[in-house]
């Protein structure tokens, strides 16, 4: 079934409500944009550390030392009594009191694309429906046209083309600003926003933008699609972004070298540093991708290398946020699309394993210093308190301060909740 995507969400919701003959207040769960804004609690920002490829969590957060599935990594004690991490996470081990390791995540999706969709949107792919990513859901309600920086920023996503449409049926105004997407430029240039400075000598700035706005409004009215509306909203966002002070937020040379070194001089580390700056500036959602986790071969060498990168960067982020008094206001999520097979394969690798894997929550709203749920001795199944993706995302929503049961109208006219109604919030993981 194919329908054109709805884009102007509030307009279509009003029309939909009218067509249903539904009176306002008839169902408290149906809230219009104004009501959401009025009811919103103080919200936290969210930084998502996206581990692309399916990270081998059995080698990081939930080791099976002593078992034949255990692999060569040893466990080390953390700052939390009874909680152990992989030996290659020494810096994060010191932050364990802030981390809640969910060890019992389980899904049925073992395909990269389907699993990524599930983890990023909370829903398995379903035909024509364009589910928005968590970033867009979080950014919704923060949206205002006068915001300088788009409320959803995606740093070095693995497939920029997919991330480009992450706003889904919420509309192109909630697509992320993408930095360092699909590029092979040096790190220092990759995280800059190019073309922020206006064309030198070009006059009549105010008039130009006013005329452009008029032209675009006329063009998009009477056309229902995301393509033309994205052109309109991109212009608006770009204008805001080019303001002088805003450009400085993206300039990492404003940070002392020692600070940049602490995060690690690689794309992920510098990306996390930029995420801190963005969050400091009020951006509600930033995701930073670390790619390379699809370790069918040579799992341990590759994982050790990747772990080194994020252990350092994430620990630096925790310290940085704490020093600036931002930790309580920032929820951090570490996850990938699935885990990896407990049984080590013939290439010293691990293959896809969605049946039992870990994700980690930290920071504001999260009760750290614990492992939630447990897997079997061989790592293959969840034995205690299984967690579905809706459960996890609903928990993140609560930490951040958005309502997981709120409904949005999708591009096929069906109302769809922020998180699926089956979701159970993990209360023990929240403060």
């Amino acid at each position: 079934m194919i329908t054109l995507p709805r884009t102007d969400n509030s307009m279509s919701r009003r029309a939909w409500l009218a067509s249903c003959g539904l009176a306002l207040g008839a169902d408290w769960r149906f809230s219009l944009p104004q009501a959401i804004a009025a009811n919103s609690e103080r919200r936290r920002s969210c930084i998502l550390l996206w581990m692309s490829g399916g990270p081998s969590t059995i080698d990081l957060w939930d080791l099976k030392s002593g078992h034949q599935n255990g692999g060569p990594f040893q466990e080390i004690a953390t700052a939390t009594s009874g909680l152990k991490f992989c030996e290659h996470l020494p810096q994060l081990a010191r932050w364990s009191d802030q981390l809640a390791v969910v060890r019992s995540l389980t899904t049925k999706e073992g395909d990269h694309e389907r699993a990524t969709h599930l983890l990023r949107t909370g829903y398995a792919p379903q035909g024509a429906i364009q589910f928005p990513w968590l970033g867009a859901l979080t950014a919704q309600g923060h949206r205002s046209d006068s915001a300088e920086i788009p409320p959803f920023v995606s740093i070095s996503p693995q497939r920029a083309a997919l991330a480009q449409r992450a706003g889904g049926f919420l509309g192109p105004q909630l697509n992320p600003l993408i930095l360092a997407g699909d590029d092979d430029v040096p790190v220092d240039q990759a995280l800059k926003v190019p073309n922020l400075a206006p064309i030198p000598g070009l006059q009549f700035e105010r008039e130009r933008f006013e005329l452009l706005e008029k032209l675009n409004s006329r063009f998009v009215s009477g056309r229902a699609g995301a393509v033309e509306r994205s052109a309109q909203s991109a212009v608006r966002s770009s204008r805001s972004l080019s303001q002088q002070d805003t450009a400085k937020v993206f300039d990492l040379t404003q940070e002392p070298d020692s600070h940049r070194d602490a995060y690690g001089r690689n794309l992920f580390g510098q990306g996390l540093l930029l995420a801190r700056r963005l969050v400091e500036h009020g951006v509600p959602f930033v995701d930073v991708t670390l790619d390379g986790w699809d370790t069918h071969n040579n799992n341990f060498t590759l994982v050790q290398n990747l772990v080194g990168i994020f252990d350092r960067a994430w620990a630096a982020l925790m310290g940085d946020l704490k020093d600036r008094g931002l930790l309580e206001q920032t929820t951090i999520v570490w996850m990938g699309e699935f885990g990896r097979t407990p049984k080590i394969n013939g290439n010293v690798g691990r293959d896809h394993w969605p049946r039992a894997f870990s994700a980690v929550l930290a920071g504001g709203g999260i009760a750290g210093g614990q492992a939630y749920g447990a897997t079997s001795a061989d790592g293959t199944t969840v034995e205690d308190r299984p967690v579905s993706v809706p459960d996890l995302l609903a928990t993140i929503c609560r930490a951040v301060g958005i309502d997981p049961v709120r409904q949005n109208v999708s591009n096929v006219n069906r109302p769809i909740r922020v998180v699926d109604s089956s979701a159970q919030v993990l209360k023990e993981v929240l403060t």
Partner: protein, 492 residues
């Protein structure tokens, strides 16, 4: 399957077939009881068909000619004129390169882009049939001396059977085997066994003394070996003598056979999707039985015709562009036209995105840069052009949404800065006798390919009174607004 089409001369075929398909669609629309959109204005049509067939907006001259032409068949003649121009091959070589070799848009295989596209361009200029094109690609020799750029397809798969199987089935057959490589997916039609049987065609034959040589491949993570076998149930007939590339040759013959249920349909579906914004079957990578086409008779008619004309791509495009459905406006007077709950029946034209190449070519055209200068290889090699285009490369142009970074590039980038000093603007600067209305008209015709509306003229005059004196800064401001508009940046 081959209807009375073969009794009609080829020159008349697109028109007659288009009429047949129009009738079928009108029946479908009536049965579904849905409102359809209205016909495009001449200006809308010219812009759309020029972008679709030759990859750029029309020039001011082309617009004035077309709008002034009173003949009733001007749309059909324009379609044919564009398809016969050298720019058709220029544009569609690019379209097919993105379609068949998406890897060439990634850093690892970027070096394949220019040679493969050049080869495609030559093939299209020579009016090679689509079938011979695909056969050439599938059987390209890996021998360095004999190889043509057709071998890029094999190179992009690093000659690995699993990659070749997944890539070839997807782009030439519309069959998505990605999941089947590793396991039997509950929803998929294809099993792991079938994947590896298909992949076996891409191996070199193994032969023991006295035995018939076989093509087989070990299935990873198992002790099984798969023998080469089609995705359909037909038996494979091997030639008497077998060499390294027999597998691919035999596979290419099966793949491009008129009996193969997927080959022609896949090509038709992809071309349709390009021109109409949605495939007859969606997603285009999945022509399995689980995915029924919304208008099956139309699909069958076009496919039969495509095969009957020996897989003539230009003829296929000529037919689709003549359709009433292709010529519907994207501006919907009724919300109900596009906001329907039912299956998509092509009752209106969706607004489509543009490829980076289309935007680049259109910007140059709008600025008054001569069309012919785009032919030379050096043009293709300029890194500024490549960089600009890479910033705009989407995965599906039809659904491409404008990003903030792209908007910044158009607003503040070096190409825009350069074009503000181009011929279009300077010619108007040098013509002080033009009224403000005329100046605006010229700028509109060059960029948006239409006359300005009275309210638009009023808006510009009011905001920029300096236009009256022909102030160059005011002219540049107008040009800037028009090329940054949503209208310029999409294919509506």
């Amino acid at each position: 399957m081959l209807s009375c089409i073969s009794s009609v001369t080829l020159g008349e075929t697109p028109q007659k077939l288009a009429v047949q398909i129009d009738q079928e669609l009108r029946t479908v629309w009536k049965q579904a009881g849905i409102q359809i959109g209205t016909r495009t204005s001449d200006a809308e049509f010219l812009r759309r068909v020029t972008l679709d067939l030759v990859g750029r907006i029309p020039t001011t001259f082309e617009v004035r000619e077309f709008l002034g032409d009173q003949s009733p068949d001007k749309r059909e003649r324009t379609i044919d004129r564009l398809l016969q121009s050298p720019e058709y091959a220029l544009h569609w070589a690019n379209v097919w390169r993105h379609e068949l070799l998406p890897q060439s848009d990634t850093p690892a295989f970027r070096n394949l882009a220019v040679p493969f596209e050049s080869w495609l361009r030559a093939e299209l200029r020579n009016k090679s049939s689509y079938r011979s094109l695909v056969q050439e690609i599938m059987t390209a020799s890996m021998n360095r001396d004999a190889s043509s750029a057709a071998v890029s397809f094999l190179a992009a798969a690093e000659m690995k059977p699993a990659n070749l199987a997944a890539n070839s089935s997807r782009v030439f057959l519309g069959i998505n085997l990605d999941c089947a490589q590793c396991h039997d997916h509950p929803f998929a039609r294809w099993s792991k066994q079938q994947f590896w049987q298909y992949a076996a065609f891409f191996t070199a034959p193994t032969s023991a003394e006295g035995q018939t040589p076989r093509l087989e491949i070990a299935i990873p993570e198992s002790s099984d070996v798969a023998q080469a076998q089609w995705l359909t149930a037909d038996a494979v007939t091997w030639p008497a003598s077998v060499d390294r590339e027999t597998g691919r040759r035999v596979l290419a013959t099966w793949m491009t056979s008129s009996q193969n249920p997927y080959f022609a349909r896949n090509a038709v579906n992809r071309v349709w999707a390009h021109l109409m914004g949605r495939g007859l079957v969606e997603p285009v990578d999945d022509l399995s039985d689980l995915n029924a086409p919304a208008v099956p008779k139309v699909f069958d008619l076009l496919t039969a015709h495509f095969i009957a004309t020996d897989y003539d791509l230009a003829m296929l495009i000529a037919t689709i562009a003549r359709l009433e459905a292709y010529q519907l406006t994207s501006a919907s007077a009724h919300k109900s036209i596009s906001n329907t709950d039912g299956p998509w029946l092509f009752q209106t034209m969706p607004v489509r995105g543009l490829s980076g190449e289309q935007i680049y070519s259109s910007l140059l055209t709008a600025a008054g840069t001569a069309v012919q200068s785009r032919e030379t290889n050096s043009y293709y090699a300029t890194s500024d052009r490549e960089r600009f285009i890479a910033a705009f490369t989407p995965d599906r142009p039809a659904r491409a949404q404008r990003s903030v970074l792209q908007a910044l590039e158009l607003m503040n980038g070096s190409l825009s800065a350069e074009l503000l000093n181009g011929k279009t603007v300077s010619a108007i600067s040098d013509a002080p006798f033009l009224s403000t209305g005329d100046k605006l008209e010229t700028l509109y015709l060059a960029t948006l390919n239409r006359q300005p509306l009275p309210e638009e003229t009023a808006d510009f005059q009011q905001a920029l009174p300096a236009l009256e004196q022909g102030n160059p800064d005011a002219l540049k401001a107008v040009f800037w607004v028009l090329i940054n508009s949503a209208e310029f940046g999409v294919n509506y």
